[in-house]
């Protein structure tokens, strides 16, 4: 039951990223809804869920992108794996720890993505970090707080420690 719900939610989140994220963008910054979902699943249900949901979310993002096919697949897989491992180390009593880990994850994702696609000078790279990545982290973190509290209200998605 839980697995089916998570798969349905994964498809919904990818669709939301495609259609809703640009509409709710602020000063050109779109929240990374897919990463929020992968983080939620991996942090709540551990490594196995993190790996598979990370891989298939990345696959759905990359399938319509032949120029960088496999990039999101790999990155989301790594994120799912590492965040899934952290589930065993941190209790989820403190939402702020979760949010801080999410912000760090998103920053690392943005930096690695830009490095892998390297098409910028160093100046533009740092400009992109300040102009896009940092505001994106702030915006996505706020959305993350809202979505986490919503997702945790779904009984099937509540985990016991």
């Amino acid at each position: 039951m839980r697995l089916i719900l998570i798969i349905i939610l994964m498809i919904i989140f990818v669709a939301l990223q495609i259609s809703l994220a640009p509409i709710i963008s602020v000063i050109g910054i779109e929240p990374n809804l897919i990463l929020i979902f992968i983080f939620f699943v991996a942090f709540s249900f551990g490594q196995t869920y993190g790996i598979w949901i990370g891989f298939f979310s990345g696959f759905l993002c990359d399938i319509f992108n032949s120029t960088h096919f496999g990039l999101n697949m790999g990155l989301f897989l790594i994120i799912g794996f590492i965040i899934g491992s952290l589930k065993e180390r941190f209790y989820k009593e403190n939402i702020f720890i979760e949010i801080i880990i999410f912000a760090i994850t998103l920053l690392l994702y943005e930096i690695i993505y830009m490095l892998l696609l390297w098409q910028f000078s160093i100046g533009v790279f740092f400009f992109n970090i300040l102009r896009y990545s940092i505001p994106n982290i702030c915006y996505s973190t706020i959305i993350c707080l809202i979505l986490f509290s919503l997702l945790r209200k779904v009984p099937v998605l509540v985990t016991r420690h």
């Binding site: 669709a15 000063i27 490594q47 790996i51 120029t67 999101n72 899934g84 065993e88």
Partner: protein, 315 residues
């Protein structure tokens, strides 16, 4: 708060599953050009696109009434503009023939529905429901009713991938409609596009319209791209920073048109079917042109054939 455990347990099944999937991702990335994912793409599109459409429809419904009245007004204006353009087009055609210029091409458009959108942060692309079965090929330009959308970068039998202007790999050669200043349209992950490589103090103003320049051979000349919304000049830089708002809205796109080879109704090449018409031209003229290939035949408004010799022929 923190349990003392190793983050990575190398003996676990998860770890080896992770390694396997990571290798698969790396393989996919390195062999992306050779992978054939036509069926998988169609399945994914079928899964995602109805959902996207529903979300877009729900969001758009709120602004439907306002948009409807705006569109009615726009249709009235466009109808007037089309009538005016038809007259100008006819005049232009006659003048080009008088000057001996090669007549402008009329575009062949293949309508396609969008069946998937890539949400990438750096590479927004589309999947459309037309493939090489519909004579769609790589590097064909794709437009919407509003303007240029992008070009085809991959085709399968029944679907194709469109590299949109919102992609860091997209570069379009463009010119300013008013001042004819050339430049390159790029995207650097901002909300809008930029018109790059324009030297400082060039004649670009807010509100100017940009068109494809036809350079590079991919995009036909004269397709509308967008409008200049901001012009910045800094003495420290050698080029202007010009922000462009494209005429098409990525989120609202539902169908696009692929431009295949242009057709030309007035410039006719010699073929067996045209022999009868050629023979209608007087005999002296036919003898004169017989020795050379440097001519073309055009048809005037009343369908009478006319032979046009190129000027450098000495007879």
């Amino acid at each position: 708060m923190v349990k003392k455990q190793r983050i990575i347990n190398m003996s676990s099944l998860n770890f080896w599953g992770f390694i396997l999937l990571l290798l698969l991702s790396i393989f996919s990335y390195s062999a992306k050009e050779n992978l054939k994912l036509g069926i998988v793409k169609n399945i994914s599109a079928a899964m995602l696109f109805p959902l996207e459409k529903t979300i877009n429809f729900t969001v758009n419904t709120f602004s439907l009434h306002k948009k409807n009245s705006e569109l009615r007004k726009e249709i009235a204006l466009i109808s007037l503009e089309i009538q005016r353009c038809e007259n100008i087009k006819r005049e232009n055609k006659i003048l080009r023939e008088l000057y001996g210029f090669k007549p402008m091409m009329d575009f062949n458009l293949i309508p396609c529905e969008i069946i998937g959108k890539n949400p990438g942060l750096y590479n927004k692309s589309l999947i459309i429901d037309g493939g090489f079965e519909d004579n769609i090929d790589k590097n064909m330009a794709v437009i919407s009713a509003d303007g240029l959308v992008g070009k085809i970068i991959e085709t399968t039998q029944k679907s194709s991938e469109v590299l949109t202007l919102y992609n860091i790999n997209s570069f379009v050669s463009a010119i300013d409609l008013r001042s004819r200043v050339p430049g390159i349209i790029k995207w650097k992950r901002e909300r809008f596009l930029i018109f790059d490589d324009v030297p400082l103090h060039s004649d670009i103003k807010v509100g100017d319209t940009l068109l494809t320049s036809g350079m590079g051979g991919v995009f036909p000349k004269g397709i509308f791209i967008g409008k200049v919304i901001k012009v910045q000049e800094s003495p420290k830089e050698i080029v202007m920073r010009i922000t462009i708002q494209p005429f098409f809205d990525f989120n609202l796109l539902e169908e696009v048109f692929v431009i295949t080879e242009g057709t030309n109704t007035s410039l006719i090449s010699l073929s067996k079917t045209d022999t009868v018409r050629v023979s209608m031209i007087n005999l002296d003229m036919f003898k004169k042109i017989k020795e050379t290939q440097n001519f073309y035949i055009s048809f005037s408004e009343n369908k009478k054939p006319k032979i046009n010799l190129l000027k450098n022929i000495n007879h």
